[in-house]
Each structure stands twice: as structure tokens, then as C-alpha cells.
Amino acid sequence: MSELLSLFFETHLPVLPVLLPMFTAVALLLMGDDGGEANHGGPLLQRRRLLSFVSVVLGAVLAWRLMGEAALGALNVYPVGGWPAPFGIVLVVDRLSAMMLALTWTIAVPVLWYAAGGWDSRGRHFHTMFHFLLMGLSGAFVTGDLFNLFVFFEVLLIASYVLLVHGQGRERFKAGVHYVVLNLVASALFLVGLAIIYGVAGTLNMADLALRVARLDPEQAALFKAGAMVLLVVFGLKAAIVPLYLWLPNTYAAASAPVAAMFAIMTKVGVYSIIRVHGVILGEGAGHAALAAEPWLLPVALLTIGLGVLGALAARSLARLVSYLTVASVGTILAGIGLYTPAALSAALYYMMHSVLAAAALFLLVELVATQRGEAGDRLQPAAPVAQPVLLGIMTLLGAASVAGLPPLPGFLGKLMILESSAMTPAHAWVWSVVLVTSVMTLVGLARAGSILFWNVLPESRHSIGAGSSVRLTRATLGLLGLSLALAVGASPLKRYTDAAALQLADRAAYAQAVLGKVGGRAADTTRPYRGGEGEVILPKPKGTP
């Protein structure tokens, strides 16, 4: 019996991070949620919290297990429904996917723990939506099919729409309308890009696409590139890069703290998709369509860092400051991707881990600080002192120093790796000057915010008005912050892992071999691009033919 169970577990492991949150969410839906404050602390709420938390911990264990397996170099290919690729949808867990999964589930545990401290009772179905969000995120990271990626994008987006307005209020609905409309337009563009790519290549399987794109003639390659650039716009909107980042500060600042913390991973879904499409499918070996995004990625990334940091300097509330820093961090990651070398990609992946954990911790911290300052909230203006100045001050200092990139914190290591990897490339002067100058500016912005929040106390209110934060909220935030700092301790094995991940992404042949069964995917050639029963194509015939 146990052998059967372990066999089942081994076979279906790649799909479990998608199924687990799905079934949990459905179970939570069935348990019902009458919502409202009256519900606070009731037995039903306690049961929902327990189920939700147990499921998230289980998911984290699964994700870490997958990462452990991926670290050995195996590509875990799971054909959904037993249909072989490229005919059916496949899930592929390689090092990058496993890393993103582990990252998602790792931040989900403390964030959910934090949310169970009260936020989950300020509206209905928080836990349900949280698990649907996790399902969408996990699905987007494990799928090996571009259309399936679109579907999981929609799953995570629709969960995020509801989570964004969780807790209700004017600000959230204002930001919510913009966020939803922008993302729906982006979804339409996503479909256009996918349709163009399908029309040219005749497949949407990532491994198959990587093989096919190399064989396109220049005319088809141009069309393929057009489709891929449409996708870049879509992913750029999700990742919040210039000029598509304007929605992010309003949205993230309006969201409730645990939601904003969970959204820290959402911009990285865009980054992940850019790596998959532009870093891998349109990478070095893509024939005429190779490196389609190269002239764009690096300049856009550097601009994003610059504008993000300027926004952070100008921000008038702590939440917006952290939101702008999230924009800047996406720029830094993208700069590593835009350099198009495995070393730079590896550095960008390491920085991404740090950026997600640090941003999530900072978003939770914003709320801890804001609730202790009474009326002033997170606005950067003199107000009553916080109740726990030492604790919050040190947490802010650590988070801020890491984001700004001070040694020996992981943010410093990540930036250093990116700078080092750019040393041999032609753009190296640009990367160095932008990253270094913006780091100083980030430090200035955070120092300004910190000194206002903790030292610039109104003379009439020497004593704090707010109470200290509950132990649970503080511990959850400390947990995230600790995880972020632990990246510096584990830098060496993690860097080895990301190095291997970058090399694995560059190896298109091995990926195709694992997914399609044979190099070149010959089996698929007889049916695609699809030409109809008798090999006849109905297209406008050239003039003069009978």
C-alpha cells in the first residue's frame, strides 16, 4: 500500500503543486464563509485557517522536494492525461521552474500566517482566493505550453483581482478598476501574440517552439518575432517595466498588507515568462528570429531601475516607496536577463530570490509601522512615535539595507553578481553606472523614510499612541526577513543552483529531448504546421495559376 502511494507520489509530483491548492480552495469554498467581523475568531474561521495553513505548509514541502529533485539536474516531464508532447499539454519542472515554485510557496507560508492574524476576517473568502492564486502561480511556473501559461495567468489574475479589493474601501476599488482593465487588455494582447506564433510555427509547446523557430525562413521569422514582441509587451505589463509600470505603485499601495506581500511574486511571473520566451525560445540558437528582444531589454531594464528609484525618492508614503522599489528591483533582474549570458542570467535569478523575499517582508513591515503610528499611517510625515521603535527600526534597517545593496546582505551579493557578469559585455559601463548610482539613491530614499518614521517625532506626542503589534504579525514579518537574510548565508549553494539553472535553460537540445522524446521532435513533423488532409492549403493562389 505504502509502495503504491509512494509510486503515485513520484509519478504525479509535478502536478501536485497545482492540484493541492485547487482542491484546498474548493474545500474552503464548500466550508462556506459568511464573512464580516462578527465571524472573527469563530470556530468556522479557525477551521478554515487550519485547513488553509496545513495545505500551504504541505505545498511548501512539495515545492522544496521538487527543487531538491531539480537540483540533481533531472527534467521532470509530466504529460497531462498521458498525451505525449507536442499533442498534449506537458508540465515541465526544470531548475528554474522548481526555484520559482519553491520561492512562491516559501513566501506563502509566512504571508498566510500573517493574514490569519486578522486580515482574513475583513472580507469573504480570503483563504479560497489565496489558494486559487497559488494554483495559478504554480501552474504558470510548471507548464511547458504557452497557451497553458495564458490559462494559468488568467487563474492567478482573477484571484488577484478579488484579493486586491479584499477589505474593500474606496482606494482599493479605484486601484482595482485600473488594475483589472489593464490586465484584461493585456490578456487580449497575450492571445493575439499566441495566435501569431501558432499561425507561424504551428505549435505552442515551448520545447517544440524552440526547435521550430530555428528552422523558420526569414519571412516567417519576422512574423514570429512580431508575435514574440507582442508577448514581451504583455509580460512587461505584468512585470511592471517602463513604460508599463504606472499601475503598480497605486495598486500595491492600495492592497492590504498580506496581499501586497503575495503580489511581490506576481511581477516575477512576468519576468519568468520573459526568460522562457525571450531568453530561451528566442535565445542564441533561434535562427533568423534569435535575440529579438536584445535591443530592447537592457535599455528598458536600466530605465526601469532609474524611474523606479526616482519614484521611491518622491514617494510620500512608505507603501508607495516599497512599491517603487519593487519596480526598480524588476529592472535590476531584467538587466541581468537582457545581458543574454548564462552568468548574468544566473545572477539575475539569485537577485530575484532576494527581491521577492525582501519586498514581501517590507510590505508586511509597512503595515506594522503604519498601525503603530495612529492617524498618520504610513505617510512620510512627522507623527507620534511607534510603540516598538527598536524592533521595527532594526527590521526596517535590515530590509532597507538589503534592498539598497549594502554588504554583507543578499541584495549586495545579487547586485555584485550582476555587475560582475556584465564586466565583459559592451554595455558594461551603462550597467555599472546605473546600478551603482541608483543604489546610492535608494539608500538616500530609504534613509529619508526611516529618519522621518522613527526619529521625526511630533513634539506634542512624546508617547506612542498605538499599541505594539501582535506577536504573530511580528513573527511572520521577521520570518520573511530572516529568510531573505538567509540567502546571504546560503549564497554559495544557491549560486551554484542558479548557475546550473542558467546553463540548463541554454541547453535547448536536452530540453527538447526530455519533452519531445527525441531530438528534433521528428514525430510531430508529419502533422504540423497543419496543412489539411491531402496536404492542400487553401490560401490565395498566385495569379496565373489555373
Binding site: 497557451f147 488568467e154 482573477i158 482593465v181 492571445l191 508614503s317 492549403v537 487553401i538
Partner: protein, 121 residues
Amino acid sequence: MSLEFLVATGIGAVTAAGIYLILRGRTWPVVLGMTLLGYAVNVFIFAMGRLWQDAAPILSATGRVADPLPQALVLTAIVIGFATTGFVVELALRSRHETDSDHVDGHEPGHRTGYGRDDAA
């Protein structure tokens, strides 16, 4: 005039109308615009399987069949589009209720702009 030309211009016209409506300031035209854009995109996906005449939609032993995959894709896109349209209608109604304005910015043009949190600072 070929069928391709007709379909392409049709998609173009509907897309243009959709984009025009999305750029309007009130939530209802925006919702309509997104619906139109969704229609255009769905037909576009469909057309990417090429336009077929006298071809069966499902594989049969004899005779030609149209590319079945875009049909499956477009079905998924329609379902998702339907769900999101339903959601955005509800969101627009709630936003109207919360902000007393059906403007997408949550306030009437000319009134105080921006996001409350920053204004007070």
C-alpha cells in the same frame, strides 16, 4: 475580394471600435470595449488556423479537415473572456457604489484627483 481580406478588415474594424471604447472615461463603455476587443481577438485566433472552405471540423477518415487546435484554443479564450467580463461588470458596479462616480478614475473629471493617501501629505 478574398475571404481573407473580408475577415481581416472585419477584425480590424472591431478592434478599432474596441480600443476606442476602452479609452473612454466611463466604466460602461470600457466594459463594452473590452468585450468587442475580446470578439476581435477570438476571431483572430480562429483565423490563425487558416480559413478553410468545405472542410470538416473534426477528423474523418476521408476528406480534408480544418485545423482543430485554434478551435479548441478559442473555446478556452471565450470561456475565460466570459468569466472576466462578468467580473469586471460587477467590479464596475461596486466601484460606482463606493466612489459615487462611474468614471474609471473613481471621481468626476475636474474634481480632486489622485489617490487619497498621498493627497493629505
